[in-house]
Amino acid sequence: MQKIGVFVCWCGSNIAATVDVKAVAEALKSEAGVVFSTDYQYMCSENGQAMIRQAIREHGLTGIVVCSCSPRMHEATFRKTAVSAGLNPYMVEIANIREQCSWIHKDMAEGTEKAIVLARAAVAKLHKNAPLTAGTSPVTKRALVIGGGIAGIQTALDVADAGFEVDIVEKAPTIGGRMAQLDKTFPTLDCSACILTPKMVEAAQHEKINIISYAELDSLSGFVGNFTATIRKKARYIDEDKCTGCGVCTEKCPSRKGLDDFNMKLNKRGAVYIPFAQAIPNVAVIDPEQCLKLRTGKCGLCQKVCSAKAVNFEQKDELIERQYGAIVVATGFKPIDASAFNEYAYNDSPDVVTSLEFERIMNAAGPTKGQLVRPSDREHPHEIVFIQCVGSRCTEDAEKGKPYCSKICCMYTAKHAMLVREKYPDVNVHVFYIDARTPGKNFDEFYRRAVEQYGVDYIKGMVGKVSVEGKKLHVQGSDLLNGEQVHINADMVVLATAIEPDPTARALGTMLTASMDTNDFFTEAHPKLRPVESPTAGVFLSGVAQGPKDIPETVAQAGAAAAKVIGLLCKNELTCNACVAHANEAACNGCSQCERVCPYGAISYEEREIRSPEFRGVRRIAVVNEAVCQGCGACTVTCPSAAMDLKGFTNSQIMSEVDAICR
């Protein structure tokens, strides 16, 4: 028989106002096994904890019940208290008489009666508790970063600088991500490539960083500290070790039909290509859909001209299996498909472009070598209209678009407007906006400069329609401040399209069992206090994969994620969950049903020598890997013979609670 102590907390008046705490303490004295019962104003205070410690020692208590706030609040506190007085931490049960009693009931008699029942249930459960010891599991001191944009690069650099190995898996043939496509960056107008490419080089040259480009995560198993990832490295038909990046093959390739993804498909490229001049790895890649040799078997010109003998048409996808202790999701974003917004004539005129397309047009390394010309006739435009919030801030019931603010569009539109006006003062620039959102360091100053210094025409209101009229684009919108309709005959229209998570994110979330919101942004473990951790232990979030953000925020978050990864990888071992499943081998049939429902693959089978009254001999028995088991209990209910039980939430513990409540 256990010797149980009951401690009823007043929580000031939070509990005591609707629960007669003294009556609860008194009522519990008559429960079987209860040898001590008392109440106190604040059990979680140092004095309250001291009272518990003293009672444990004085009365030789084998377990304690604390009637207080939710166990989610102070279970850990009281477990530590128990440990400091020599008890096993799992000999503590909490009766939640605040959130689930005093705070929801107004009647004192009712509240008190319920509190007594809840306390009795906790005592009943405690009678069936057993001391538990948590196991430990080792930590693989290597991190996997998924995504090689600025977020992934920054996280990888920070983790690697702390001395840990990092693998970056990037689905494109080069790292760099969206930032590599940008021309200038707000609010400083420094060149994006000039600040990004040194980081790319640093990552490539870092002895602790291994870049696996043109690759995606194929499958993942394991758990925090012990993930096993299978990475599919797609065939690029070029030997990465041999290719020197000289580019001769890209010049000789006779196929010219492939669209250049890096330039937002604004121009064509060969079937063998290097995405951009500063690509890392600076290695060519063959597009199998365009390559004549791969499609028809005829050609092979690139192979003939390659002096490094790097072209290999036989190359196949390669599967790489590696162990990791931590995983960082840095999958970034893409602009939404603007073709759904044909009210802006995006499908009707090549002169209606998205902001990222405009970014490439303005870039000196872009399809127009930085000359601002209309994509349709390569003529210099004189009138440009920018339309903001295309697909952002849509109502929940809208057929298209996103409910959220994409956060970066106001600023990059101001940047575009300013850059155009600076380089081409002859061009009139109009911006239709709902609100100009500029909360950031030097952001509002930047926006005001666009308006005041560069004379950008900001029109508060939305555009109703863009129609193609000859060579012109007729833009019809409203000016809310002046209360009038505006008609502009523009040469170009630029759509500030919303951004959305990369399409690979959803499948990745499922693979990682990391939760996502309805927009497919990864959910943080706590929106305020744990913003860079996913609720899944060992999975961390970096960059826009978690939500829209600009470059400085992304870099800051990437560093924060790195700090969390470093904190994890510094540990030699992790303490496992003590509340794990366990099979009673005398009752286990070895029927394999538990294995089928285990989400973690924690159950395996062993032939064991069994000596029980029912059976003597060797039998197949379920064995739980305690480091992998997360304690959900799916197996315990599937088990037909109740051989499988969950420590801390055993069948008999829960039955005892039921009995106490239904007494």
């Binding site: 394999s592 599937t638 037909p640 013979s641 109740a642 055993t650």
Partner: protein
């Protein structure tokens, strides 16, 4: 014919053992039994061999290669036990034996025929020798209830097949389930209380059930919270049959042994059949024991499964 074939098998391996039926004391009794080369002559297979040998196999040692006779319906239970790794398929040579429906001795008795000495089959007719002379009744009038819900003549697991089978299913096997579903909750409750009150807790259902194959039954496992021996509570007593029905959910092949062996005549299979009907309706057709290695519907899911609260009359449509 069967014994001849078994003797042929003995010529290749004289150490074989055989699992079949033996004649019992009354004209209707046929008992599961393991035979050796010496005792093989006592093996009998006729229209009274209704019992399912699959469960019996669990209690037999398999140090010798075993030849087992399985009717089409028994093969489902055999497969299910192989799926649950309680039987090792490789340890058995399965002979599928033909079945045209088995006869229920109780039904013969209930016709009022007294002083039965022996029963002979002549085609579709049973000739019954009694102290008072010979009587005839049509065979189809006295088939076991489970044969009226026959799953078909296909052997789901056989290394060889001897004899012809016939599908003896008549009508819709869910007819009674549907009738119960159509009642009011109070009527249903009255029906089940009436039936379950007859239970004398002899455990015949649990002993005969091939799905109730646990080495240690929950009703005997003090950690399960279900067992009542020490705690002297009445949970097990009160809810025995609900617990049992739920425990075999997804694994029950609808072999009908529970009702066949119940000395009180409780239609226990109507509980299992209700679950089978629900599972088929909610999650798609599933027959436990159809093949070895199946994943049963309660250890599986789809993202689009229906919600438990959906209003269904009596749990039906």
């Amino acid at each position: 014919m069967i014994v001849n074939r078994l003797q042929e098998l003995l010529q290749d391996d004289e150490n074989l053992q055989f699992v079949g039926w033996e004649k019992g004391e009354t004209p209707f009794d046929r008992t599961p039994k393991t035979f050796t080369a010496e005792t093989l002559g006592n093996l009998c297979y006729d229209s009274f061999c209704g019992s399912n040998l699959s469960k019996y196999l669990l209690s037999q040692k398999t140090d010798k290669k075993t030849v087992v006779l399985l009717k089409p319906c028994d093969s489902y239970s055999f497969n299910q036990l192989c799926t649950e790794r309680r039987l090792n398929r490789d340890a058995y040579h399965v002979i599928g034996v033909g079945c045209k429906g088995k006869i229920d001795g109780e039904k013969i008795r209930k016709t009022g025929i007294k002083g039965i000495l022996s029963v002979r089959e002549e085609g579709e007719t049973l000739k019954i020798e009694t102290l008072y002379g010979t009587t005839e009744i049509p065979r189809k009038d006295v088939l076991l209830d489970k044969c009226l819900a026959c799953k078909g003549k296909e052997h789901k697991c056989a290394d060889e097949v001897l004899g012809e089978s016939e599908d003896t299913c008549v009508g819709d096997k869910y007819e009674t389930v549907a009738k119960l579903e159509a009642m009011t909750p109070d009527e249903r409750f009255a029906f089940w209380r009436e039936e379950l009150s007859k239970c004398i807790r002899c455990n015949a259902c649990r002993n005969a059930c091939p799905a109730c194959s646990c080495i240690k039954c929950v009703f005997d496992n003090p950690n399960s919270g279900v067992q009542n021996k020490a705690a002297a509570d009445d949970f097990e007593e009160n809810l025995f049959h609900i617990i049992r029905a739920y425990h075999v959910a997804g694994r029950c092949t609808d072999c009908g042994e529970c009702s066949r062996v119940c000395p009180q005549g409780i239609p226990l299979h109507l509980l299992n059949r209700k679950i089978i009907r629900d599972v088929n309706e909610f999650y798609g057709d599933y027959q436990a024991g159809d093949a070895i290695g199946q994943r049963h519907p309660l250890t599986d899911f789809t993202f689009e499964d229906s919600e438990p609260n959906a209003e269904r009359k009596g749990g039906g449509k």
